[in-house]
Symmetry: C2
Subunit: 138 residues, 2 copies
DNA sequence: AATGACAGCGCAATAGCATTGCAAACTAGC
DNA sequence: GCTAGTTTGCAATGCTATTGCGCTGTCATT
């Protein structure tokens, strides 16, 4: 069981330490993107800085991607399989629910091509839709 | 001359104080969206808090809109004419230049409709394109 | 088995940003 | 001129990201 998680790390060239296994395990259980504070609360007696560095390492190695949803805190979520170190493919839409404050990925919804004016070169696109998610709507 | 600026404020139901005239005047001179810190530096011997509250007031009254470009600092830019108090129409794309760190509005590029999954309700869309702007590209 | 290099971890500390409370200064209406 | 309400400036708070440093455990080499 833990073998699985460990494999994920080693495949991404990340040393599987106890702390990192915990973090990855926690991430795998999430349905939405989580902030550093969420992670800290989820893994109670843990140091915030250590978790921060674990996430940074994961991001650097292409295991998670970070999302800035405008809530002030950076959110993190596991990447799709096709991400590589330093070369993210997270060109999908993120959804921020104004009610439950959860940020989730909508990987099926690709970001449409934006026609930029002459001389502009696009390197990255960030599309956040805010509203009410399917759990909060009624 | 100052008459003009004053009129803009009164039309938006904002008391035209000296400070606010200065802020609006500064905003009118900008080609890109500016952060609070930019504003503070541009109007040198001014209190950051006062400027912050001026911008808040402007935003509340529909004179400027705020943009979170992921740089950590909120940027502000004047609205188009069709904005009203509490009811913004800033559904245009924002461009963040990774080189000069400037954020500009691309009002001609409307945000395409995003088809959300069942049960999701969109209230606001935030589309930031990052790359190199026409001044920095070569 | 001892040693040394190194990675990871936890604590402390820093810096930048948004935001609020409070008291002084100012403005407008009476 | 006086009072009420608005605006301003200072101080302070809280949250976030980020870095430095020393301790600890691990692993390889001798």
């Amino acid at each position: 069981m833990t073998e699985n998680i460990e494999n994920i790390l080693t495949q991404k060239d990340i040393n599987p330490t106890a702390m990192r296994l915990l973090v990855l395990d926690f991430l795998l259980k999430q349905t939405a993107a989580i902030s550093l504070t969420d992670l800290e609360k989820g893994l109670d007696p843990s140091d915030r800085i250590t978790l921060y560095r674990a996430l940074k390492k994961f991001e650097e190695k292409g295991l998670v991607h970070s999302i800035d949803d405008g809530s002030g805190a950076t959110k993190y979520a596991l990447c799709e399989n096709d991400c590589e170190a330093g070369h993210h493919h997270d060109l999908h839409v993120h959804f921020y629910c104004n009610t439950c404050k959860e940020t989730s990925c909508l990987p099926k919804h690709h970001i449409p091509q934006i026609a930029l004016p002459e001389g502009f070169k696009s390197e990255e696109v960030n599309l956040i839709v805010k509203g009410v998610c399917n759990k909060c709507v009624r």
